[in-house]
Amino acid sequence: MSVLIMLLFLLEIIGGIGVFGSEYVQKFIWPNLALIKCINIPYLVLEQIGPVFLIVWITVFIVGGGFYMYIVANGLQQLFPRLNYKLLVLTLLVIVGIGGLIFPNAVLVGYLFEMIRRFSIIPAIGYPVLIYIIAVIRGKGRKNS
């Protein structure tokens, strides 16, 4: 599922750059939505597929979001078995909801993501290393003599 979502995102990015070009694509806050808006279907009732796309997009977004919530909540519960899974998911929902509302505009979100992206490699590599160090310290994973 996750691979499929990433593949769709990749196709969309390639499509956006392919249609708008590297210079023009930077103008849009949501290039994928602009890309959909550019599609013109003459003679069809709506003449565009924007509304249809939004229905699909929101569905995919909610399913994808739900999937990531499951992964995070499941992972956290494995780390901290005392946590209640259902309450954990609800807590995450509140965090994600606040995260979505707290930023005043998309420009700030883009700016923050630009900053975070530079350091995103740290948890990706750092977390397994941290787990390994803790395992070594606690003497876990060794064969009992």
Binding site: K27, A34, K37, C38
Partner: protein
């Protein structure tokens, strides 16, 4: 279901009641002024004159049509001057009792004089930034007239002039003497460093009371630098491979030959010769003979067809070269030579100042014509 669960369900159902209030800010369709065309002209000082064409649906129904003394046009035109297009549209709200809706806008007509004083990228900014403005709206440039005068005209052929432009653009056969462009593509070309923008020219013929959509306005950056005649526009369509159903007449030794269903494909290969790009343009054309006014009688033979093909190739090669040279002189890269260079020789592109190089770039055009159908044996 126990009592506790029933209580939970009742609370849930009550919660959904808040969604039953419906759409509180909706407006009935007769309360909406659907803008079909927006005209932008040069206003006094640094202002712009914005005109919008709004259909009057009740006047399109014959029984409800205007009585004597009332304007019998199926649309109304309102206009105002303002510092920006967005400000003008806000002011225009005061000129109609209805709600001005630009979501259904089909075309944007820009007066040629605008380009003398204003930056076109700034002018169309609202129409590409505003999520309500359709990105598919077509751009037209007014030739020898103002956008307002074009919108004021009442052509005999159509109920609503604003839709007339769009219907033309939806016909493949019309991509011949002009080439239509939506606003997003127009803006993309304006800001692209390896391309230049073009837009179809529009004028009004008062004697025949109809619009004439022919020729192209070509740009160098955001400046309007020249025009291509309808014939030159056809040649532009051949080089770019955009012509798919064209028709052209050639005066050959055999007689006057008219080709129909002319379809072109082009391949551009760039070689670096002595440190400079050299363009090798190969054009493949297939077409049918739709008219042949012969200078002598006789049956059509395979040899004659080949002769016609070779002669057309010769004529086209000269004419196509003239168009490329004209565009080079105008420093307008509407043929995307820069884009081809950027794709094929990235390193060279990064080092070069394309706008200085383009006017003197060397090229060679090879044309291959294939006649598929002759229509008759003679």
């Amino acid at each position: 279901m126990n009592r506790h669960h029933k209580f939970k369900l009742a609370i849930l159902l009550l919660f959904f009641l808040i969604f039953l209030s419906g759409c509180w800010d909706f407006a009935e369709v007769d309360r909406r002024a659907f803008v079909t065309t927006i005209g932008i002209d040069d206003g006094p000082g640094s202002k712009v004159l914005v005109s919008v064409q709004i259909p009057n649906p009740h006047k399109m129904i014959p029984l409800l049509n205007a009585t004597s003394g009332e304007d019998s046009r199926n649309f109304s035109l309102i206009s105002t001057t303002a510092s920006t297009v967005n400000e003008a549209l806000n002011i225009l709200l005061t000129k109609t009792y209805r709600n001005l809706v630009i979501e259904q806008n089909k075309s944007i007509i820009i007066g040629a004089k605008v380009f003398e004083n204003d930056n076109v990228t700034d002018l169309i900014d609202h129409l590409t930034r505003n999520p309500k403005a359709p990105l598919q709206a077509l751009v037209f440039i007014c030739k020898d007239a103002t956008a307002k005068s074009i919108l004021e005209a009442t052509p005999v052929q159509e109920v609503l002039p604003g839709l007339m432009f769009v219907q033309s653009a939806q016909t493949t056969f019309k991509y011949d003497r002009t080439f239509y462009i939506p606003i997003w593509r127009f803006e993309q070309r304006l800001i692209h460093s390896a391309k230049d923008a073009y837009a179809p020219l529009i004028s009004f013929d008062p004697t025949e009371t109809t619009y004439v959509e022919a020729g192209l306005a070509v740009f160098n950056g955001s400046r309007l630098v020249g025009e291509l005649t309808p014939h030159e526009t056809q040649l532009f369509g051949i080089i770019t491979g955009m012509m798919s159903q064209g028709g052209m007449t050639f005066s050959l030794s055999l007689g006057e030959v008219t080709l129909a269903n002319l379809n072109s494909k082009s391949k551009i290969r760039i070689l670096l010769k002595d440190g400079r790009p050299y363009y090798s343009i190969k054009i493949f054309i297939s077409a049918n003979i739709s008219e042949l006014i012969k200078r002598s009688n006789g049956f059509m033979t395979p040899q004659k067809v080949i002769e016609i093909e070779r002669e057309i190739e010769k004529v086209l090669k000269t004419e196509l070269s003239k168009v490329v040279k004209k565009l080079q002189k105008l420093n307008s890269d509407v043929l995307d030579f820069g884009e081809e260079l950027r794709v094929q020789h990235q390193r060279y592109w990064n080092q070069t100042e394309w706008k200085q190089e383009y006017p003197t770039v060397q090229f060679n055009i090879d044309v291959k014509v294939r006649i598929r159908k002759t229509g008759a044996k003679q």
